[in-house]
């Protein structure tokens, strides 16, 4: 039973490996670029979306929120490379993200390195760490693998919490020393640059994951998800391919950590927690594992809710309700948990499955030819 514990996620066929058929076929490759372009010019819009964002689209608060959402969209997509596309359930992904966050922060704040060096070292270091720990953890499979990665991440969390050598700031976290940073990344007026940075990160992750999934190696990863034994008998070393996926995914997470550190302006131990990995899992499932846009959407939506629900809980509308309702509703986690449960029920296969579920509707609406 042990090896059944982690069944491959209810994944869809990797879109990259199946040819498209629709009329969109010609247009399709360009859609992501269009989306990217639209996202890139958002900061020029003064559109006000009452209830959705506090201020106009181009206000710093909104951009900050969007930047955080985008980073998590990218993180979720990177995590999906492991979970949705290779079928590996890691409970320790937060470690590599945290390594990016804390690595950058410590190198900038404590060692006084310039940002680009700190970021580079953090990513290289975290990727190496992922490769080393992955090499050990991948000696196990299934739930044992999940728990070994959890154990490693937990050690990371304990070290951060202990405030080893006063480096990490323990439970209080470590604010980023911005004096050495490029001025364009500092200050509320420059939030827009952080937004673009986050967008670039997301685009990078999506592009990498897309390319890798559509590559010969991606094909092997999809095969690993279904039947690892078979891959071995075909003459491929499962271990090597899994390690590559693990390392790549860890590296992408650490790059997200660098960006996140800049956006939030510091590190806090929350990023080392196993809950973070768990929420990555939630994001991926919410969006649809193994799909190109699902995890991104899941990540963005999750973080959006996570941030906005605090405002929802404090809103007058909720306060006006009788106490039985308003008390739980003013707990953001209650709403988030409930939304999540409902999502599991009503969107099995994630948000990405919405397109297929809506297909009959679309067909019905399309004028007969």
């Amino acid at each position: 039973m042990t090896d059944q514990m982690v069944d491959a996620p209810p994944a869809a066929v990797p879109a990259e490996l199946t040819p498209g058929h629709s009329r969109w076929h010609g247009l399709r490759p360009w859609l992501p670029l269009v989306a990217l372009a639209v996202a890139a010019i958002v900061p020029y819009s003064t559109l006000v979306l009452p209830g959705i964002f506090e201020g106009p689209l181009n206000s710093p608060g909104t951009l900050q929120l969007l930047a955080v959402c985008l980073v998590f969209g990218g993180l979720a997509a990177g995590y999906d490379l492991l979970f949705g596309r290779t079928g590996m359930l890691s409970f320790g992904h937060a470690l590599y993200f945290a390594a990016g966050v804390y690595g950058t922060d410590i190198l900038v704040t404590r060692a006084g390195l310039p940002l680009w060096q700190a970021g580079l070292f953090a990513v290289v270091g975290a990727t190496t760490l992922a490769a080393l720990l992955g090499a050990v953890a991948l000696r196990t499979v299934g739930i044992a693998f999940a728990m070994v990665t959890l154990a490693f991440a937990q050690v990371g969390a304990i070290l951060v919490a202990r405030n080893f050598g006063g480096w990490t700031g323990g439970e209080e976290g470590l604010p980023l020393d911005v004096s050495g940073l490029p001025p364009a990344l500092v200050g509320v007026t420059n939030t827009v640059n952080l937004y673009w940075l986050a967008l670039a990160y997301l685009a990078l992750v999506v592009f990498v994951v897309h390319r890798v999934s559509g590559s010969p190696t991606g094909r092997v990863l999809a095969g690993l998800r279904d039947d690892e034994r078979r891959i071995g008998v075909l003459g491929l070393d499962p271990y090597r391919f899994k390690l590559v996926a693990f390392t790549l995914s860890g590296g992408l997470a650490s790059a997200g950590g660098v960006v996140y550190c800049l956006i939030v302006g510091g590190a806090s131990p929350h990023v080392t927690s196993s809950e973070l990995t768990l929420s990555l899992l939630v994001m991926v499932v919410l969006g649809g594992p193994g799909t190109r846009w699902g995890p991104v959407l899941g990540g963005v939506l999750y973080m959006y809710l996570d941030h906005r629900l605090t405002a929802f809980g404090a809103s007058d509308a909720v306060d006006a309700l009788p106490a039985v309702l308003s008390a739980p509703l003013s707990q953001p986690l209650f709403v988030l948990g409930t939304v999540f449960i409902l999502a599991v029920y009503f969107f099995p296969g994630g948000l990405a499955s919405l397109t297929t579920r809506l297909a009959p509707l679309r067909k019905a609406l399309r004028p007969p030819r």
């Binding site: 710093p60 608060g61 209080e172 605090t310 405002a311 953001p332």
Partner: protein, 373 residues
């Protein structure tokens, strides 16, 4: 056009003064946050004579929940600043305070940190102030229990992490500096079984045990110290937490010497009366909110919309707070304030604290830290 819009603060003489409060409405520190906001409202009322106005300008308060998460607090702060808010206050958690303080400096807005106790907020930068006490002041109060520290043996029992580190360092500086030998026993904040640590403490045979422990495991910790006979074998000092925690000390409560930031009845100032009339029973963090409101009103009154003027107006300002005379030290923005020694008595669910001694703001003043930014 510009890819991003930031509202510039209205220079209009009747435009409202925007104040943003970023604190914990939900999350583990929600009840600290609740006291803070109650205190703030009462303080605002008190400082504006019930009008909620400074001159002709209304004080417009925006409350944002950070759920104790620095990332959310930073987002909220940026949002507020983007909308032209010049004064931000709140920060229930130390992590939040430390992360928001640099934002204030980068954007040149006033930041008045709330219940967060970390010493690192003091002297963080020119724009950052605090409305509550800091760990160092706790430790100085603890020192007052020991008489002459010279030659005494002091043990610090603290949890791992920055809070524990700060307390240990402060004890070493304050009590160790006065001639005591200080050692420490540290435990992970997540610990559930305290016998090993109690045994270590007992083996050290200290003259004074200083305990710095926060969190839900505190009652188990106290019970273990009590059961292993630590509480009866030495003087044990710790900070007195919010009222809701008092019954959790159980029988151990009467064996502990408490240093206190505040408890109901610790002072009978005019401000305390005003606060009490609003909130009924005053608790630990009500005075912090109250002081924050007083500082906001002072800043708005003297500084208008000019943040630098606000800073000048607050630096060195002395006012009558709930706890008595409070002084904002100009050099590092430490808030000098009275502190208390207290005893807990009672049983079951009804406990009362009584002041043993009051230390003045000067007696508990931390050393001046150079301003970092």
């Amino acid at each position: 056009g510009s890819p991003q819009e930031t509202a510039s603060g209205g220079g209009d003489a009747t435009a409202p003064v925007k104040v943003g409060l970023v604190y914990s409405q939900s999350g583990p520190l929600a009840s600290y946050g609740k006291q803070y906001i109650e205190g703030f409202k009462a303080g605002l009322d008190h400082a504006t004579g019930g009008t909620g106005k400074v001159g002709d300008r209304k004080i417009e308060v925006t409350e944002v929940d950070d759920a104790g998460d620095p990332a959310k607090a930073v987002s909220a702060a940026k949002d507020l600043i983007g909308k032209g808010t010049k004064i931000i206050a709140g920060s229930t958690a130390s992590g939040v305070a430390l992360q928001v303080a640099p934002i204030a400096a980068q954007n040149k807005v006033l930041f008045i940190s709330g219940p967060a106790a970390t010493d690192a907020v003091t002297g963080a930068n020119k724009y950052t102030f605090r409305s509550g006490r800091q760990s160092y002041q706790d430790v100085v109060t603890a020192k007052s229990f020991i008489g002459d520290p010279a030659g005494k043996k002091v043990v610090v029992f603290a949890q791992d992490g920055a809070f524990g580190d700060a307390n240990e360092a402060a004890v070493k500086a304050v009590i160790g500096g006065a001639g005591a030998t200080v050692s420490s026993v540290r435990a992970p904040a997540s610990a559930t079984e305290f016998t090993p640590f109690a045994s270590q403490i007992k083996a050290a045979k200290p003259d004074l045990l200083f305990v710095a422990w926060a969190g839900t495991t505190a009652p188990a910790m106290w019970q273990t110290l009590d059961q292993q006979g630590v509480l009866t074998s030495t003087t044990v000092v710790t900070g007195l937490d919010i009222r809701a925690s008092w019954p959790t000390f159980g029988a151990a409560g009467s064996k502990i010497s408490f240093l206190s930031h505040y408890f109901d009845g610790a002072s009978d100032t005019e401000a305390a009366t005003a606060l009490k009339s609003k909130v009924g029973t005053i608790d630990l963090f009500h005075p912090d909110g109250f002081a924050a409101a007083q500082m906001v009103v002072q800043a708005a009154q003297e500084g208008g919309d000019d943040v630098d003027k606000m800073v000048t107006a607050l630096e060195g300002w002395t006012f009558d707070g709930v706890k008595g005379k409070m002084t904002i030290r100009a050099e590092d923005h430490a808030l000098l304030q009275p502190m208390y020694q207290a005893k807990l008595s009672g049983s079951g669910t009804t406990f009362t604290a009584a002041a043993q001694k009051t230390l003045t703001g000067d007696e508990t003043a931390p050393p001046v830290t150079p301003m970092k930014g």
